[in-house]
Symmetry: D2
Subunit: 326 residues, 4 copies
């Protein structure tokens, strides 16, 4: 249920409504807009009839039910786009960004060379895997803490914020210490204990869409994060599984448009997606793709990345650039 | 098998090779490039060993096997992109075009109003269904010959060439009389008797991808047209069936890039696809989408179409415009 | 709309209702059950309000709207299962049958050896392709009329009725002369001109499900046949396209159960499907699968077929056997 | 690599080979068959050339490479089917079993009534969810430890072993204390930290197939469990996501046959699957499905369950029954 407060509602009236929502057994989420404040009442175990009596409370203009199964992520509750801050780089709204870096962190040389190229070409955020989810137990599983140390060093040198995947509830505290954003991989999109743990993390979350998730299931996974207390969520589309086996995944362009219509959260995606209104792109870059320990064939080399960045320079939306510190 | 003739091969030498290919039980397709002539030898019942002896024929530089199951549509046989002429409008190569019009022709007023709007906004070709493939026998099945008459009238008034779907071998001659291009609908992509009949038609073919076809199956369907004698084929991507039921089809952006990599044929697609290198787009336009007898929800109204066209104006590739005759 | 006549309605009353249905602009389909007669009124262009006035006509018990988009194929209109007679072999109801034979008819020896093995093992109907829909134009396309002649000879020798695919409206008359049942291949499931032509054929139809059709789309394709005048339709499930590329198609067991719940038409399918309530199975059999010109890998050899038939012998439902004429 | 020892290889020779495998940087897995011992050498970082020198070691008959990406789960390494013991109930080989119980444990009454019905109808193992993975954070998430206590009580009363899902690495020890088998849900099939933790658990694992996993990805997930040290794995097929949205999942019958061909692990599945060679079935049973807190529509009531069990009684394979202790 959305409680629309009237324009001149006082803080006291707002506090009273929040209080009552909690007494009825719901969570209260206060969203302050430019013109008015709205309060979301969410939960499944509250006393609905009592909640509806708020209609008559002072300062309340109207009560509107939220028709979608997701509540806090919906456009209905928050019509303006959210802007998520990642180590000083804003994502969403009028900003669009480029996250780039290697699939896996493999060595100091590989990471620093890539990081400098990303910075020089105007990239906004450095990505790189420390813990890798691999289909086979015999494949390279990532360098772990050693990779986190290297990512920290790359940030110090280039000033780029860092995003890396976290696969386990037990690693959340450690990875949060080192990076600016925590990525949930596609295979973990419905790992609910991980989502619940991340909803209490202090860092923003990059939530990849599972290759078999509908847009609604993806938004409900984001709802786990927001309802648990973490409003800083960025969605990432990376393609779905279809019968076409020639290509690894089928990139779902329309899903970006649909996600942005249904939700206020920013969406990042692959380069071809900017036309669909994505707020940013995420690219794998490697100094020598054919020697990469994971996902080489889908990585750009440093020169191709610089060319792509030049082409992407578009005047109509601001691209967030990092002010390099050193 | 591809027979690459040497640069200074004489016409007599070319004729000799063609003759020998036929004697070995294959079809011979001569492709004259700017620099040299290549000859494709295709078929499955020929005498391969005899064919390979052509290696030693005068004027032959080398023989190259065609690795893909499709032959005449492959980039291997013809590295330069094909340009297909539709009633004076070139599609492919450096030209990109816009086909627009209603899903179904419903009335004189509806069609002419749309045709004028398409022409005024700079559209290249007018589309409109006369025979409609409908999932239910109880749905509107198209106006048939009456619609063909109206399409002819719209061409006369606006100068726009016409494309319309043909569903049956028995209608090919009739529809060819009225229109400039014959469309094979997605459900007929593997209607092989229809493809064989159209391979002998005098008009170019717009071949839509079936929602369950791989890119290879799509190109093999085009191969039926080329191997039967019709080289004027344009591919049209319109989305594939996936588990995501919120959206009718999942538009397969990467398939356009893959089709253009594997084949020299032009590809048209929906507006968001220009980023993937499509040679054109195909849009449903209707003066009043909510009153359309078919596919209303996915049609643009006339004003939205004009806006889209303005946005699409890009300097780097030539958009083919029709010189209006009257 | 379904018009349920009362138990003691007279023929005159029934005729009157039929007359009125036609006058209102609908088709009338009379279904005589053991206890009562029901009349289906179908079509999309009738005058609904006038039709509803039939409520008050003599002999009418009640009017029930048909909720599904398919009408004549629905269980709602005809609760008892249909039985389709194929050259003396009943399919549906309490009968279940085995159709077997080669993918393609390749030679007299191949066909007759297979036909005898099918008869000896207790098969009910002989299948064999004369016209083959092939993904590539360079693959074996079937022997055509020569194959039809051989199928006729095999029927004369074994007494087995024949089913074969018809791909083109132009071949319907010819193929009908030779065979007992006409098959619509999976790729032609939504070839509407072909369906309309077959709705006027004198032979029963075997309608294969397209690998990308929902059960509803499949039943609507059958509706084309029934609404055009051919009530003798048997559905055939053969698997759908999914992301699992290890197997050619994913056999959709639940679709058989769903089709039988929604429709009164018989369903045949592959051997593993009898558990799901299929009315029969359709198997490719070849004397020497590794030398088959099409679909060898999925064919059984003659011995394996005889073993399967022995295993399938189940007491609880009658298996229709052909009395061999000599 | 598989090292086939000769029939009369001594224990000393076997120990020597194991030692050498480890020295070369691989894991060694000894499998003692009725006739001979084979030793699997698995891992990706070993010194292959040195390993191949084992060809000449005393007692070694031959070295055979494992062609599939999964090694320990493959039929190639262990041709005979594995039998997994769950609280005294064998699964696999000549035994087939029925697991039944409610989707979620909801109350003492609900669970005990169901457990008694499962025991009385001849069910082998009691299932019931304590921790529920739910698409929405607002849906019932399971009773947690309270449910585990009730499951223990149900086992004490009925003698049925217990299987329940574990969603988080942190819950593995706790859930292991209460139950006889740990289930990995479909959404966690590629939760690799969970798989690694469960590879060190003392209880057997029921590994559900993800609705978007190929059979190979499923077997590689099982490989995580075996390569980490837990050989007691049972696979569970529950359907895949396809374009057919009428049904929640498309049950993939052929996947069971394929999994059993590629792997020696037992497979359980839904009731219709016994025809495909499944080693058991898993059914949701609830005293009152329409009041269930989760998955009510797909549950059987107690009477329907008893009927199904009666029908499933087949003489040709032994159904494992629990000898009720009290």
């Amino acid at each position: 249920m959305i409680v629309n407060m009237s324009r001149n509602a006082t803080q006291e009236q707002i506090d009273h409504v929040v209080e009552r929502i909690k007494e009825c057994g719901y969570q209260a989420h206060v969203i302050r807009g430019a013109e008015r404040t709205v309060i979301g009442a969410v939960g499944s175990n509250g006393r609905r009839a009592e909640l509806e009596a708020l209609q008559a409370a002072p300062g309340v203009e109207e009560l509107v039910p939220i028709s979608q199964p997701f509540k806090l992520v919906s456009r209905q509750l928050r019509p303006e786009p959210s802007v998520v801050n990642v180590g000083g780089v804003p994502i969403g709204g009028e900003h669009w960004i480029v996250m780039a870096g290697p699939c896996s962190v493999e060595s100091r040389e590989q990471l620093l060379a890539t990081a400098r190229a990303v910075r020089d070409a105007g990239g906004s955020i450095l990505r790189g895997g420390a813990y890798k989810p691999r289909t086979s137990p015999y494949d390279f599983q990532g360098l772990g803490v050693e990779a986190l140390e290297l990512l920290r060093e790359a940030r110090e040198e280039t000033g780029l914020p860092i995003v890396t995947e976290v696969m386990s509830t037990e690693d959340v505290d450690l990875v949060s210490e080192y990076t600016d954003m925590l990525q949930v991989g596609a295979r973990n999109m419905q790992n609910f204990p991980l989502l619940r743990r991340l909803s209490r993390a202090e860092k923003p979350i990059l939530l990849k869409r599972s290759p078999s998730a509908t847009v609604k299931e993806w938004l409900l996974a984001a709802e786990y994060l927001l309802s648990g207390g973490n409003p800083n969520v960025v969605l990432c589309e990376r393609g779905i599984k279809t019968f076409e086996s020639e290509l690894r995944n089928t990139f779902d362009l329309a899903a970006i448009a649909l996600a942005k219509e249904l939700s206020h959260l920013p969406v990042v995606a692959d380069p071809s997606a900017i036309a669909a209104g994505a707020d940013g792109i995420m690219i794998e870059v490697h100094p020598c793709p054919e020697r990469a320990l994971s996902d080489g064939p889908q990585s750009l080399d440093l020169k191709a990345f610089a060319q792509l960045m030049a082409e992407l320079d578009r005047p109509e939306r601001k691209r967030a650039r990092t002010t390099v510190k050193v």
